[in-house]
């Protein structure tokens, strides 16, 4: 059965890549819906921005990546024959746009965490992390802002591959299979690395 092509092409009320029905947007765009095409093009730029910020760690590179993602999405959207494959194509494209020509920067952490050697321990109490939406109380807003900053800093301590897996799976909500397809490793490998990365991030978020 073909998916409906007119699924919320404006994307109103939706923030971020999670829950976006890319296949429906592609079908709608190929059918001539300008609103769907605009939404696809905006989504591709938003993905490139989040990738630059959270995976590359350099928001100042974002605009180049956004432009590249925009052009490639525009060229590709009309050609794709399997709309359900668009999502993984988009993330592979953004990854290449952000990473392929990138050279290691001087201020990247010299030592990345070796998570394959990280063994979980059950010691010590855990501070409760407030992840409520900001906006209720100023102190909550500040705490959430601080945690997001801490998260970004913790992500930069992960190896690029662990960071990419966390980004795709946790931040963008891709399935394990989709992540494996983008990264080029097995699903079992994705799960193992994700677990190690989660443990490391938890540890970092709790550090005083």
């Amino acid at each position: 059965m073909t998916k409906r092509a007119d699924v919320n092409p404006s994307g109103k009320g939706r923030v971020g890549g999670r829950g976006t029905d890319y296949a429906a947007l592609v079908i709608a765009a190929q059918s001539g819906s300008q609103a769907a095409m605009e939404r696809l093009l905006m989504q591709s730029q938003e993905v490139a921005y989040r990738f630059s910020l959270l995976v590359c760690g350099h928001a100042d590179d974002a605009e180049d990546a956004m432009q590249e993602a925009l052009l490639k999405t525009y060229r590709h959207a009309g050609q794709i024959k399997a709309p359900e494959a668009f999502r993984t194509w988009l993330y592979r494209t953004v990854k290449n746009a952000c990473l392929v020509s990138r050279r290691r920067r001087a201020h990247e952490p010299a030592q990345l965490a070796s998570l394959d050697e990280l063994m979980p321990t059950a010691d010590g109490a855990i501070r409760i992390i407030d992840v409520e939406d900001p906006g209720r109380r100023p102190d909550q807003v500040l705490e959430n802002r601080r945690l997001r900053g801490t998260l970004r800093a913790a992500l930069q301590k992960l190896s690029p591959e662990h960071r990419l897996i966390v980004f795709l799976r946790e931040v963008e909500g891709l399935s394990t299979k989709e992540v494996a397809g983008v990264v080029g490793v097995s699903e079992a490998n994705v799960k193992t690395r994700l677990h190690r990365a989660r443990l490391f991030l938890r540890q970092q978020l709790e550090a005083p």
Binding site: Q30, S31, G32, E38, R50, A122, I129, R148, L151, R202
Partner: protein, 92 residues
């Protein structure tokens, strides 16, 4: 000499399964076993809670919006691109 698993061994073994627990990938029996252990082991319970909160925080990062100036420029690029050529359509 026969050895029995210590509680630390038990904790370590279950911690390796925590991500599957959080992701809802455990079987019914595995899940029940995990829940029983978490109820009886405050340390593991705290760790599981922290791990879940970490995952939630990462997921919230997916809602990061484009800053206003970047969004304005992103929209302008889309407008220019769509005005410059024919709309993309499926090849026949």
């Amino acid at each position: 000499m026969k050895t029995t698993p210590t509680s630390q061994d038990r904790c370590r073994a279950l911690l390796e399964e925590l991500s599957r627990f959080i992701d809802g990938e455990l079987t019914g029996a595995e899940r029940r076993s995990m829940v029983r252990h978490l109820h009886s082991c405050p340390c593991c319970q705290h760790l599981a809670h922290g791990l879940k909160q970490t995952v939630d925080l990462c997921q919230k990062a997916g809602a990061t919006r484009l800053p206003g100036d970047l969004r304005t420029r992103a929209r302008a690029r889309i407008t220019m691109l769509l005005a410059s050529g024919a709309p993309a359509r499926r090849r026949s």
